[in-house]
Amino acid sequence: MAYLRHRLRGIGPYFIAGLSIIFVWQAVVELLHPSSAILPTPAATAETLWTLTKSGELITDIYASLSRVLSAWLLAAIIAIPLGLLQGTNRRFERVFEPVVELFRPISPLAWIPLAILWFGIGESGKIFVIFIATFFPILLNTVSGVKSIDPVMIRAGRILGCDTSLKLFIKVILPAAMPTILVGLRIAFGTGWAAIIAAELVAARDGLGFLISNGMEILRSDMVLAGMVVIGVLGVLIDSVFRVIGKKVNWGAQ
């Protein structure tokens, strides 16, 4: 019961925020009377959402987008976490690798789209590549900072308690000590990856929430555009909250 109340208190603000957005949206429609092609009412958008759900189209799009983000995010994690651990523990590697990262980091995933098409064509891998770019850096940077912010006394304790090789120290101390921060990186990365699906699905996609939006734009169905936006927002919050729950568990009870 207490647990449920606690959960509800977390959801409450989002519920209120959602209602407020719908209220303002409705008010704008009432006051300015825009044509429904420019701004449909919340009710019309909800109806479109319902139609898309019934036809199964929405589920297909969600599935397509989610699996793209998931693949890219997993790939980024597999590459960025070891690199981050290496950069955080090895000065020499950091001196070489950090400038490279800093040069690539300001380049938006959007800028990679042309190259993604050239390199990977218009199939799945190009889209995954664009999302990969968006997820890679948050994971890398958080892993590095997770390793660097480990209290040196933890390392000493591990070494004097028998972790006599770097590998043992890594597995027994460095990795678990950095884990809470790595998880923050994974959470943020999923968010940035999720936000990048529009960009990734801008080109030559036949499904996905990004496709729903760009296609809605092309056939002048702003209700479809808005429906896509609503789904992206709501799913983004839901996924993020799953990560938060995991993150609290792995924060070793610190907060």
Partner: protein, 275 residues
């Protein structure tokens, strides 16, 4: 590995600190001489307390003995073997407890035993007995965050003693605890030490703590540290801090210390107290 917890066999070892000195070379700044060459022989089973003004190099010396840092002059020998890296045979108790927050109390105590590859059944028995020794048997599955400072340091004591090291190093282990908890832990440490016969090297800034615990006390000068006074304390345990002998020794050490603190004024504020 069979000797790991055979307490019938005293495994205390002597420490030979042979003209150990330390210079630090900060990347942007002048070199710092943290420690003037120190010569000190610690006998097996001895309980040595090191006192000195803050910043005089006590931690530096202890960290060299532990193998965390390398001396820039001289060397440390344990049983004739040169110390150049940490070893589970020299246990360390840190002021910041240094428990692993991702492990519960039992797993923290178990950590060193696991590295020593002690079989699981035996491990469980040892952990249980050491948790009982420090009175935490009911907290074995608790997370370390739920513990008070005194309880955390008890876990650290169990963690270090259960691997049966021959030497125990302590850097102001009770410095962060309140007075009552501190004196309780001092008594607990004393009884564990008497039972298990370890060589102990304890850094403290409390003259009283040194006199309650140690059978030898070394006073260091202000930075760069040297040994100024080397005193054997043969008062019987448990020591009565109100006895005349205790008071006399306390006054003697304090006066040596006060001189040093006066010298270090202006660069290092004194942190030595008589409590």
């Amino acid at each position: 590995m069979t000797t790991v917890f055979d307490k019938t066999q005293s495994r205390a070892k002597g420490i030979h600190i042979q003209n150990v000195g330390k210079m630090y070379y900060p990347p942007n700044g002048d070199p710092v001489e943290a420690l003037k060459p120190v010569k000190l022989d610690i006998k097996p089973g001895e309980f040595l307390a090191v006192i000195g003004p803050s910043g005089c190099g006590k931690s530096t010396l202890l960290n060299i003995v532990a193998g965390f840092e390398q001396a820039t002059a001289g060397s440390v020998l344990v049983d004739g073997v040169k110390v150049d890296k940490p070893d589970i045979d020299r246990g360390m108790v840190f002021q910041q407890y240094a428990l692993f927050p991702w492990l519960n109390v039992r797993q923290n105590v178990e950590f060193g035993l696991k590295q020593l590859k002690v079989p699981e059944e035996q491990r469980a028995a040892i952990v249980k007995s050491f948790l009982e020794l420090v009175g935490l048997q009911d907290f074995s599955e608790a997370s370390t965050h739920s513990l008070s400072g005194g309880m955390k340091q008890r876990v650290a004591l169990a963690r270090v003693f259960c691997t049966n090291p021959s030497i125990i190093l302590m850097d102001e282990p009770f410095g962060a605890l309140d007075a009552l908890t501190r004196s309780m832990l001092q008594q607990e440490l004393l009884s564990i030490w008497q039972e298990y016969e370890k060589t102990v090297m304890l850094i403290t800034h409390s003259v009283q703590e040194a006199l309650v615990l140690a059978n030898r006390i070394v006073v260091m000068t202000s930075r760069p540290g040297r040994i100024k006074l080397d005193m054997t304390v043969d008062l019987p345990y448990p020591r009565d801090s109100k006895s005349a002998e205790f008071r006399t020794l306390e006054a003697e050490i304090l006066s040596e210390l006060t001189d040093e603190i006066a010298k270090s004024y202006g660069c290092n504020p004194p942190s030595v107290t008589a409590d």
